[in-house]
């Protein structure tokens, strides 16, 4: 079934180990991180590569996530390729620095093992951490499984470091469900993958004393606005380049890297939109309902920032009803994914009824049966303006 075009090895790996494998092949100059469940095994695994001399990365273990992101931001300013990994409260602690990394246009790549935000304290998966930082100028790519997470790391590096982009990127994988679940992951040839990302060649770096360069000067009412407009342009460029770089990666893996994955969607009447690991469960639900003759399908967005509004609109426009499943709240507003999908549909002449669902907060499992019930409800046209919850006790 593999369409791999280069030498590859199949290994039983957790999602975290798959991320560490990607980091091993990318060979960043600097990695700084602070331990947090469920991310820690990424850095445990990578630390072993460093200790064994497999990579020559400088590993920094600072006293907090705020310092970890500061270290990698500084390292990138110095001209290095730098990476980190975190989750939940760790990402929350980085928030002060995240817009500085993007604002300074430093292409840090960071893996996020999605985990619920405190309080109440909870170590399991939901998307409230990465969704909370979706507007801070970082590219966001969500992964369904360990294989995707591994491949997305390479896409993220190339996209982030592209001269027309120069924005940091986050690669998301669902905490525990993917981060700790073991699956067979196809790891492509070390040299081919390293060559795919190449060496980082920054145009300016603070260590280049021959061409001194100022980073992070004050900009007030006169230039700040112009600088932020550049960032928005960089996101537009990232959207275009994601496809181009994805095609290059296809040359190695034989897979497709679209903005989203469509699953039995083109001839469907009812579709659901869901990110990450729940999409895997939803595909099984789709298959079973299809056997019953029900025309259902799935759209799984991968690139969330920049968000591909036009393409998603075109992919959904033939549907009669759409359900959007979010693994986080936007308290007091429409849920993050629902909000984008509803927005994308606005430009259609015909209004498609949509239903927002919240599921899986704090790692609550979502079952195939529940997704089938969602489909059945949508097939019956049961739409309400209320946000519905899946698997919640009343």
């Amino acid at each position: 079934m593999s369409m791999t075009k280069v030498k590859s090895t199949k290994k039983p790996l957790t999602g975290n180990e798959a991320i560490a494998e990607a980091m091993r092949q990318i060979r960043p100059d600097v990695l700084a991180a602070y331990p947090i469940t469920p991310q820690s095994p990424i850095v445990h695994t990578f630390a072993k590569f460093v200790a064994d001399g497999v990579v020559d990365t400088v590993m920094v273990t600072p006293e907090s996530e705020h310092s970890a992101i500061s270290v990698v931001t500084g390292a990138e300013a110095a001209g290095a390729r730098a990476m980190s990994a975190t989750a939940s409260q760790g990402l929350a602690l980085m928030v002060e620095v995240l817009p500085a990394t993007s604002g300074l246009r430093l292409p840090v790549v960071m893996a996020i093992a999605n985990r619920a935000l405190s309080a109440p304290i909870n170590i399991h998966c939901d998307h409230s951490d990465s969704m909370a930082v979706r507007d801070l100028g970082w590219i966001q790519i969500y992964s369904e499984n360990a294989q995707e997470a591994y491949e997305n790391m390479f896409l993220a590096v190339r996209l982030a470091e592209h001269p027309d982009v120069l924005l940091p990127a986050m690669v998301m994988l669902d905490g525990f469900i993917i981060s700790h679940g073991v699956e067979v992951v196809e790891i492509y040839d070390d040299e081919v993958m390293h060559k795919f990302v190449g060496e980082r060649k920054p145009k300016f770096s603070l260590l280049n004393y021959k061409e001194p360069w100022t980073m992070g000067p004050l900009e007030l009412t006169d230039y700040y606005f112009e600088t932020k407009r550049q960032e928005q342009e960089a996101m537009k460029n990232a959207k275009k380049l994601y496809i181009e770089i994805g095609k290059e990666l296809s040359e190695i893996t034989g897979k497709e890297y679209g903005y989203f994955e469509k699953y039995r969607l083109d001839d469907a009447e009812v579709g659901i939109v869901v990110l990450s690991s729940a999409a895997g469960t939803a595909k099984d639900a789709v298959d079973e309902l299809r056997k019953e003759g029900k025309k259902v399908g799935l759209l799984k967005p991968k690139l969330f920032r920049p968000f591909p509004y036009e393409e998603i609109r075109d992919a959904l426009k033939h549907l009669k009803v759409i359900g959007v499943l979010d693994r986080s709240y936007s308290f007091g507003g429409y849920a993050p994914l629902y909000s984008e999908i509803r927005n994308a549909l606005y430009d259609l002449d015909k209004r498609i009824p949509t239903q927002s669902y919240i599921y899986g907060l704090g790692g609550r499992d979502i079952f195939k049966q529940e997704i089938k019930e969602v489909f059945n409800e949508l097939l019956e046209g049961k739409i309400s303006s209320e946000e519905k919850c899946i698997g919640l006790r009343e």
């Binding site: 300074l104 001194p212 100022t214 007030l220 230039y223």
Partner: protein, 116 residues
């Protein structure tokens, strides 16, 4: 921002380096002297060229040269080697730190008068 600046004359977002990042030493082009309310009045006849004002100045606005022949200062002595010159008023914000720190009271802060 001064009212004299015309927004339309500033560079657009496509023309400026990304991220607000800039070549080095651009602060030389940014004349902050107009912020001044008080002005340091320097009396060379009281100066021992001890360099305390130079090191304290937050804007590096006191120029220093190496003088072989020397300059006349405190008690008519000739001071050779590194000597301070008149404050550079393009950058002096008039904070008064030099006057506060000067051990021989060679600097006095006076009200600045601007001619518009």
């Amino acid at each position: 921002m001064s009212e004299k600046v015309k927004w339309s004359e500033l560079k657009g977002w496509k023309e400026i380096p990304i991220g607000g990042n800039l070549p080095a030493k651009t602060s030389l082009e940014y004349k902050t002297g107009s912020w001044r309310t008080f002005r340091p009045e320097f009396d060379p006849s009281l100066c021992t060229h001890c360099m305390i004002c130079v090191h304290y100045c937050p804007d590096s606005a006191i120029p220093v040269i190496i003088s072989e022949e020397g300059v006349k200062g405190f008690r008519d002595r000739v001071y050779k080697g590194p000597v301070r010159l008149e404050t550079n008023f393009d950058y002096c914000k008039g904070c008064g730190i030099c006057a506060e720190e000067c051990p021989t009271k060679a600097i006095k802060m006076v009200r600045e008068t601007w001619e518009d």
